[in-house]
């Protein structure tokens, strides 16, 4: 069985895995990282989105062996020292979640979106999150949250640059 080494939320794991094991099942069933849920089997819904070497990836469409050597951040690793990431705060403030099942993927996809465009328009947000489905909110509050998160993240960065 192939042996892989992955870092998940700052912890290194060396694991023997079947070649067919999906990354999301490695995370959930083997490593107990159940913060990352599964919503479909055709990579349409994006609930399982994680950051793989800093970019968003749907962990249901990646084999665990393909993640060998990668650094993975899940929703569980987003807070630092108990302080929520600005995007987590923004989703809470703007009521951008109801059942919350799509939320981990939505937050991580939104963070990746800001990677490319730190001040996205409504259209950019809507198109950028097209691969993440939500059944509860109708998306308006998610768009508001991403804008708010973007504002707070750029303010944090400015603060870091000037301090």
């Amino acid at each position: 069985m192939p042996r892989i080494s992955v870092t998940v939320d700052g912890i290194r794991y060396d694991e023997e895995v079947e070649p067919r094991l999906l990354l999301v099942h490695l995370l959930r069933d083997r490593l107990g990282k159940t913060g990352t849920p599964i919503g479909c089997d055709t990579s349409n819904c994006g609930a399982c989105t994680v950051l793989l070497d800093g970019r968003s990836a749907k962990s249901c469409s990646i084999l665990a062996v393909q993640a060998d050597g990668c650094d993975i951040v899940t929703i569980e690793g987003l807070s630092t020292d108990g302080t929520w990431h600005p995007m987590q705060r923004a989703f809470h403030e703007e009521h951008a979640l109801q059942c919350g099942y799509c939320t981990p993927g939505m937050i991580l996809a939104a963070i990746d979106l800001l990677h490319d465009d730190p001040d996205p328009s409504e259209e950019t947000i809507r198109e950028g999150l097209e691969g993440n489905l939500c059944r509860c909110t109708g998306y308006c509050t998610i768009v508001r949250a991403v804008r708010r998160g973007a504002r707070e993240m750029s303010r944090d960065q400015e603060g870091a640059a000037t301090s």
Partner: protein, 805 residues
């Protein structure tokens, strides 16, 4: 778009800091639930891992209708990691029949519904065997080694032809499940000499509810008692029904709904997999888990809608509606599940909408087909009824050459006429259709958009503007028990709450409602904070576990606040009365002289007071209580309302339709809803937004499609088009507040309102855009292809030699 989104925010400014005289109710509290959801510390059923746990995978029928002639599990049993393999025959003696609790007529046909098929399969996806293995991959692998021989039978996929004599039968007794009729007033007279009559046929396409969390079940036993975790909306109903189905005594069965990722009616069910997982754990003595894949769920989670509506309206020349006649076929699918036959009945009383009329006539026939059963999906019966009447009022307006708003004004129940008993016999307690409509028209810029529409029509612009109106109401807040009983529903509609005051003055609320995204923990905390004068943060809400919350009727039908929230209020009142006794005793005053305000009991006219926290501690110590006083402040309440709840509102939709490509774009959407008093405006807006999105989805995007052999073609999210952020518009929302008079909070249900309202608003807009071309209807979903075909048919003169290609 940007401008519109901001307009939406401005229309309903939501600030948590808004001071409401110190009250919690009405405040836009951010949700308590969010902390675990935004950090991934969730408890979805599939997250549960237990020592020695086994995984179940189901083999499902690839045929819509077939006799099972042989099932061979012998090879599968020898596969690595496989602990057991079962077929339907293995469970036949103990699996019982999945329940239907709504036998709507005396002569209804309720076929036997084995959780695992034994001799015959009646839809693609029905379970025929299962593997129990040490992990989910091994369980899925071994399914390939099970051999099943089928003798194909004819599929029955079309409701209308299913009723033809001599055709293939889904069940021995035939394809008609029931016919249910309801009539009020003299319908013949209403239609006989009416100046205008309009008749239409609408197809309510089959929909897949698609909660984001797929279903999952974990069952375990200690050899005596059983615990079932399930992604369900109805842990309490499930416990009773599973006890009755499996024979496990109710007191030996605990059902838990942990975090549940959405339901929309799809988890208001007693499923085959829940029954089978219990039976498997009973046999093997080990914990088992089953989690469905999305494509498995699309095949097997009950579907929604799927009705064929023939509706006629008769009116006077001035537009006054005289009567409405409805003839409905409702596709039950292959079996009657929990409330399958009752869904069209929930719509039966809503075809008069917000309008006054003399007569009403309703007939519904439930039809069996070889498809997955239908059952409740957000709105359940009421979206269908509201769609039909709101579409018809727009059609009638077109027929009369009248503005659709003006026609509605002539017919709706005026503000001064409430309470009003409708032609269907419902008494609407309160409402103000004028106020909601006037506000919506102003936000929408109705006159300006009509002017633009006229201009585009005059210019023959290839992109036409359409304006759609929906002035909806609905009956929700399911309850009242006596009414449900009169409709042959198998249970009541009350709700239960317990309030427990802890020694330190913190409060636990146990609710019989079972939230799965609605935010009850937050809203109930606000209600209790006001009622007992304790801080919002000092309230915890317990739910969804029959061991802590033994009594409840769960969450569906927009009932949680209007029934369950009121039960919480009533329990708090009892707590307060007990605390008043203790306070009076401690302060040596008469209870009649004790005033209560914001958590403080004060002797009237003095400076002497005790806080509720002090009373809680004194009651815990019990050293000095009134003679005979039971040392507890805790109290229960069970509330059963006298009437349904009737939210209403006006939704306006403007669409741009490209007449060359058929593409529709929602240009603006305004919703002004009246859900009575509001506990948390943030949560209400969320419910309205999400509801509108699901209604738009029916209007423009979603449809479960079967081929002639009964195969579902939309088994994945790649085929079944759930709208993404890029597909939906921003919504401009506002509210009017006409308090309900039937409950002490003055609240009305909100969970389904948006979905009920929005579908006709969108389709009315699409048809309005195309009306100059002679289009009178576009079947849902109004895809570019369907719009384009509707235009083509309207533009091409009718041929008599076989019709249009």
């Amino acid at each position: 778009m940007t401008e519109q989104l901001d307009a939406g925010v401005a229309a309903w400014q939501i600030k948590e800091s808004d001071v409401l005289d110190g009250r919690e109710v009405g405040r836009a509290r951010r949700r308590k639930e969010d902390a675990r959801l935004v950090t991934g510390r969730t408890q979805w059923t599939d997250n549960i891992q237990l020592p020695g746990m086994l995984h179940v995978a189901f083999l499902r029928s690839p045929m819509a209708h077939a006799r099972i002639t042989r099932v061979d599990t012998s090879v599968a049993r020898t596969q690595p990691g496989v602990v057991a393999v079962f077929s339907g025959a293995d469970f036949a003696a103990e699996q019982g029949s999945l329940p239907c609790v709504w036998p709507v007529s005396e002569d209804i046909v309720i076929p036997d519904h084995p959780p695992m098929a034994v001799t015959e399969v009646r839809y693609v996806g029905e379970a025929v065997a299962c593997v129990v293995a040490t992990d989910r991959y091994k369980a899925a692998d071994a399914l390939d080694a099970i051999e099943v021989d089928y003798e194909p039978l004819d599929a029955v996929t079309d409701m209308t032809s299913a009723l033809d004599e001599g055709g293939p039968k889904v069940h021995e007794a035939g394809n008609k499940a029931f016919t249910w009729t309801f009539a009020q007033g003299d319908i013949e007279a209403a239609f006989r000499d009416a100046a205008v009559r309009v008749e239409r046929t609408f197809v309510q396409q089959r929909l897949i509810p698609s909660a984001m969390e797929p279903r999952a079940v974990v069952a375990q036993t200690d050899g005596d008692a059983f615990t079932l975790h399930s992604s369900t909306q109805i842990p309490h109903i499930l416990r009773v029904m599973l006890a009755l189905t499996t024979g496990i005594p109710e007191h030996k069965l605990r059902v838990v709904a942990p975090d549940v990722g959405g339901g929309f009616g799809s988890k208001l069910q007693v499923t085959a997999e829940e029954v089978l997982c219990l039976l498997i754990t009973r046999r093997l003595g080990r914990p088992v888990k089953w989690t469905e894949s999305r494509s498995e769920g699309n095949l097997t989670v009950h579907h929604g809608r799927d009705q064929l509506q023939r509706i006629s309206v008769a009116a006077d020349a001035d537009g006054r509606i005289r009567g409405v006649k409805v003839d409905l076929l409702a596709d039950m699918g292959a079996y009657l599940m929990l409330v399958t036959p009752g869904v069209p009945l929930l719509g039966a009383f809503m075809y008069s909408g917000v309008y006054k009329m003399d007569a009403y006539d309703f007939t519904c026939t439930g039809v069996f087909t070889t498809k997955v059963p239908t059952d409740a999906y957000r709105g359940a019966g009421r979206p269908e009824a509201t769609f039909a009447i709101e579409r018809m009022v727009d059609e009638l307006a077109a027929e009369l050459g009248m503005d659709p708003i003006e026609l509605r004004r002539r017919n709706w129940i005026r503000h001064g006429e409430f309470p009003y008993t409708t032609v269907c016999g419902l008494t609407y307690d309160s409402g103000n259709y004028e106020a909601a409509t006037d506000r919506a028209l102003a936000l929408f810029g109705y006159d300006r958009l009509r002017a633009e529409q006229a201009d585009r029509r005059a210019r023959e612009d290839p992109v036409q503007l359409g304006i759609g109106v929906s002035t909806y109401t609905e009956m929700c807040g399911l309850a009242p028990s006596r009414v449900l009983g009169s409709l042959s529903y198998g249970a009541g509609g009350w709700e239960h709450a317990s309030v427990r005051v802890l020694p330190t003055g913190k409060v636990e609320v146990v609710t019989g409602t079972s939230p799965h995204g609605q935010g009850h923990e937050t809203a109930w905390s606000q209600i209790v904070a006001d009622a007992l004068g304790v801080p919002f943060e000092d309230v915890a809400v317990l739910h969804g576990d029959t061991s802590s919350s033994y009594k409840g009727m769960d969450t569906y039908g927009s009932r949680s606040l209007v029934v369950g929230g009121v039960a919480v209020v009533q329990a708090c009142e009892k707590v307060k009365e007990k605390a008043r006794q203790v306070a009076a005793h401690l302060m040596e005053a008469s209870p009649d002289d004790i005033e209560f305000s914001r958590g403080e009991f004060r002797v009237r006219g003095t400076g002497t007071s005790r806080t509720i926290q002090e009373i809680a501690l004194a009651t815990f110590a019990a050293h000095d209580l009134p003679d005979g006083f039971e040392p507890r402040l805790d109290a229960d309440a069970t509330f059963d309302p006298d009437n349904f709840s009737f939210p209403h509102g006006t939704h306006l939709c403007a669409v741009e339709v490209d007449t060359e490509t058929g593409a529709t774009r929602i240009r603006s959407y305004v919703a002004v809803d009246d859900v009575g008093n509001v506990v948390n405006p943030l949560i209400v807006e969320g419910q309205v937004h999400g509801g509108i999105a699901q209604g738009i989805a029916q209007a423009l995007f979603e449809e479960a499609v079967h081929d002639a052999d009964g195969n579902l073609l939309t088994t994945t999210m790649a085929d079944y088009l759930l709208p993404s952020a890029a597909d939906l518009p921003a919504y401009t929302t506002d509210r009017t507040e006409t308090p309900a008079t039937t409950n002490p909070l003055g609240v009305k249900g909100v969970g389904e309102a948006g979905t009920i309202a929005s579908t006709p608003a969108v389709v009315n807009a699409v048809v309005d855009a195309l009306r100059p071309y002679g289009v009178r209807d576009v079947p849902m979903p109004c895809t570019p292809e369907r719009v384009w075909r509707a235009l083509g048919q309207a533009r091409t003169p009718q041929r008599t030699d076989g019709g249009l290609s």
